[in-house]
């Protein structure tokens, strides 16, 4: 996929540059952007090291487990099929907690473990279970406590307040997660599309 996108972007850029008679600017931009990528990486390096170091303390201090314990009762409600299976629910909660803290490296193995546990409950079917759908929709829309990379990019670009978008990120993620939950419940047929919809939806939103 990225093969097409990347080649397409470059080809379109050079061709349109030729048509527009901006070939010189385009060539110059190619070289300066490549240089800019290195500058950006160096600009991000400090903040990412700082953040990774801090996250290592969080990881060793068991913060993932702490967040997981707080989130468990809430998540239990979203996974009715996995709620009574300690292994499956545990892995799901741990993965989402690691994502919440922005610990990408720790989150992926936990997520794969969660998928394996859910697949065990799914009895090895090759069709996704409702719990899997819920898990992945939550995984792709879930909140990140501190959007460290974005803050680093903003700081590098000379923002007066690089972290000021944090609350916006939270609100946008909460909106996405809530609509994701509602969509999964609707699409899985747990909520019948008829009468019970408004009441049930409101209940979910409140949680």
């Amino acid at each position: 996929m990225l093969n097409y996108i990347w080649a397409g972007m470059l080809a379109a850029g050079f061709l349109i540059g030729m048509i527009n008679g901006r070939l010189e600017e385009v060539t110059q931009a190619a070289f300066s952007s490549a240089g800019r990528a290195v500058e950006l990486s160096i600009g991000l390096l400090g903040i990412l090291c700082l953040w990774s170091g801090l996250m290592k303390i969080a990881e060793k201090g068991g913060l993932i487990r702490l967040v997981a314990r707080l989130a468990k009762p809430l998540l239990k409600l979203l996974f009715p099929q996995a709620a009574h299976d300690a292994g499956a629910l545990g892995s799901i909660v741990m993965n989402l907690s690691a994502n919440f803290l922005g610990l990408g490296n720790a989150a992926t193995p936990l997520g794969i473990k969660a998928m394996n546990e859910l697949q065990r409950l799914n009895r090895g079917d090759d069709s996704a279970s409702d719990s899997m759908c819920m898990f992945l929709v939550l995984n792709t829309s879930a909140i990140q406590l501190i959007p460290a990379t974005v803050i680093a990019i903003r700081a590098d670009a000379g923002s007066a307040a690089p972290a000021e978008i944090t609350v916006c990120v939270w609100i946008a993620s909460i909106c996405a997660s809530l609509s994701g939950i509602i969509l999964v419940k609707l699409l899985s047929g747990t909520i019948p599309l008829k009468k019970r919809l408004p009441g049930r939806t409101r209940k979910l939103v409140r949680k």
């Binding site: 990528a37 303390i57 992945l136 829309s141 959007p147 946008a172 994701g180």
Partner: protein
């Protein structure tokens, strides 16, 4: 409603999390400094991992910008998305984001630089980048790991939730910071 409170929360979020993490570390009797230094090394490997794709993709975005193609795409998108209240620049990111994380990072870096990090577009693309995920990649990795072939409605629900996130980002930034 007083939206100044949100800026205050944003201001406090990072320091408070520093304190919580350090507090938990001390409470659990971790050698916090040693752990920090060990973790900071991961930052270097992360940068080394993202540098080559960033060079490739920022070059592509830079070429598109210089050729005038980027402005043309944004111009075309304007009537399509303006009624939703989304800036067309952000819509470009919205299309790229589910497909590629590093390409989106390159686009956000370019836009934040071009429009300014504290402009409306700069804030919206920052918020979007922080609140959305590389959906196709995530689904491929997780479903691939257990051999699921029929993913049913997962992609639909994930993309719709992503769309909500895009619109919410544009609206919230407009409400809190103004356009």
């Amino acid at each position: 409603m007083n939206f100044a409170a949100f800026s205050v929360i944003s201001l406090y979020a990072v320091p408070v999390i520093f304190l919580i993490i350090l507090g938990v570390g001390f409470f659990r009797e971790i050698n916090v400094y040693d752990a920090f230094v060990e973790g900071a090394k991961d930052g270097i490997s992360t940068i080394i991992r993202i540098l080559p794709p960033l060079v490739g993709l920022m070059t592509a975005v830079g070429v598109l910008r210089a050729s005038g193609a980027l402005d043309f795409i944004i111009y075309i998108m304007k009537p399509l998305v303006s009624f939703l209240g989304i800036p067309p620049e952000a819509m470009l990111l919205a299309l790229l984001r589910p497909v590629s994380g590093s390409a989106s990072l390159a686009l956000v870096a370019e836009m934040v630089k071009t429009y300014g990090p504290d402009s409306y577009v700069g804030r919206v693309v920052s918020t979007m980048m922080g609140s959305t995920e590389t959906i196709f990649y995530t689904l491929a990795v997780y479903y691939g790991s257990v051999g699921i072939r029929n993913i049913r409605y997962t992609l639909l629900a994930a993309l719709l939730a992503d769309g909500v996130s895009v619109m919410a980002s544009a609206w919230i930034c407009a409400i809190i910071f103004g356009r």
